[in-house]
């Protein structure tokens, strides 16, 4: 494109490169620190952490009790803490009650256990409609709940962060904690899916 006007919107990739250059050439931002942040959230912090928490809760009744009483402390026992995890409340899904987490104002999400939020969680349709017609939204996302299951939508408006403890699926009694962790999905820990047996 050769013609430019002041109202033209520049490609966001180009703006990003420009901002990085402006800050790094003045020594305000270190590209190596940026790389470390990115690598952390690409490899070390993600839903595999939360899955370990859930699998432990499924196999260790005392841990489960501690997790539901003080989520932040029980999660820190496994070494998971950090930004967006100052106070994590763990809430149990049962056949009678289904909890699902949203942030209508932005995209608050429990980073230490789930990593950065996926695209559907940040999508306006999810943010707008989960507090208006959750049963319809859940059905669109693949979860059909019985009519007598109570739905509780957890809208994250403060620094409190929610983690759903999904129901352990039937037929997994003989599985190890590690095997169980492999079944637990990000979606189930937000409340837009159930965990299925293999």
């Amino acid at each position: 494109m050769t013609e430019t006007t002041s109202s033209e919107r520049l490609p966001i990739e180009l703006r990003t490169e420009a901002l990085e250059q402006l800050l790094t050439e003045r020594g305000l931002v270190d590209p190596a620190v940026m790389d470390k942040f990115i690598q952390t959230y690409e490899t070390a912090v993600g839903p595999m952490n939360g899955a370990k928490v859930i699998a432990k809760a499924w196999t260790d009744p005392e841990y489960r009790e501690r997790l539901l009483a003080d989520g932040t402390a029980a999660i820190a026992e496994l070494g998971f803490k950090g930004p967006q995890g100052e106070h994590i409340v763990v809430i149990e899904n049962t056949a009678q009650r289904h909890n699902v987490v949203v942030c209508t104002l932005c995209s608050c999400y429990p980073w230490p256990v789930l990593g950065l939020p996926p695209s559907w969680y940040k999508d306006p349709a999810y943010r707008a409609r989960m507090v208006r017609e959750p049963r319809v939204v859940l059905a669109e996302m693949g979860v059909e709940l019985p009519a007598d299951t109570e739905i509780v939508v957890r809208d994250s408006s403060s620094e409190v962060r929610w983690l759903v403890l999904p129901e352990r699926p039937a037929g997994t009694e003989d599985m190890s904690e590690e095997q169980l962790a492999g079944l637990v999905t990000r979606d189930a820990m937000v409340g837009v899916a159930k965990v299925s047996a293999p």
Partner: protein
């Protein structure tokens, strides 16, 4: 707060996206750079804070908020905070971007930084409050029908509606003032349950919504 970010209950967005198991953390490489730039800009470089970052997101024009995807939104908000603190001149990013693609552009001079006169009293947002909580579990409360001009964490769809306190959460600094560097004003925080029919009328699907609300957002219901 502008309507842009306060989406709860708004219409016209279409279907929810179907989750996929293998979604990458960053769909494109620039998104990861924008993520890291925003994180570093909000505190260390601009001298601002997380609440000011959320407020910067709310101040964006609709195309900046919606049209450059999620991390584009973060990049625009980071840029806004850096201009607020005079780390960057207005238009500096655009000028550099044009230069990067070969245009002859004069870049604005680097301004004299003007960071807010602000120091957090501790890391994070949790704080100690001496006064006991005003409300207890089971208390009936109403979310005030407030219309603040700046930042707030009281969503519009709850204002004026009645709920019941479900949990008392740890006290935290108040984003409404913290975002504007007007003090931390720590308060008790409550998880409040709202019935869907209270919020959306008798024909609504039956369900419950909870929100964490600061003490000054709430009034007692007798």
């Amino acid at each position: 707060m502008r309507m842009t970010a306060d989406l709860g209950g708004t219409e016209g967005w279409g279907r929810a996206k179907t989750p996929t198991a293998d979604e990458p953390v960053f769909a494109e490489q620039w998104e990861s750079r924008a993520f890291a730039l925003a994180l570093l800009s909000m505190g260390r470089v601009s001298g601002r804070n997380l609440d000011a970052f959320r407020h910067a997101l709310e101040r964006l024009e609709r195309p900046e908020y919606f049209d450059d995807t999620y991390y584009g939104r973060w990049l625009h908000a980071a840029e806004l905070m850096l201009v607020d603190s005079a780390i960057l001149a207005p238009g500096a990013v655009e000028a550099r971007a044009r230069k990067l693609r070969g245009e002859e552009v004069e870049e604005p001079p680097v301004p004299e930084p003007s960071k807010p006169d602000y120091q957090p009293t501790a890391a994070g947002s949790l704080r100690t409050v001496e006064n006991p909580p005003r409300f207890a579990v089971g208390d009936a409360v109403r979310a005030k029908d407030m219309k603040p001009q700046g930042h707030t964490r009281l969503p519009r769809y709850l204002r004026g509606h009645r709920g019941v306190v479900e949990m008392v959460q740890p006290a935290a600094l108040l984003p409404d003032t913290h975002a504007h560097f007007l003090g931390e004003n720590p308060q008790h925080v409550y998880t409040v349950r709202f019935d869907s029919r209270e919020l959306w009328g008798a024909d609504a699907e039956p369900f419950v919504v909870t929100d964490e609300l600061f003490e000054s957002y709430l009034e007692p219901v007798s």
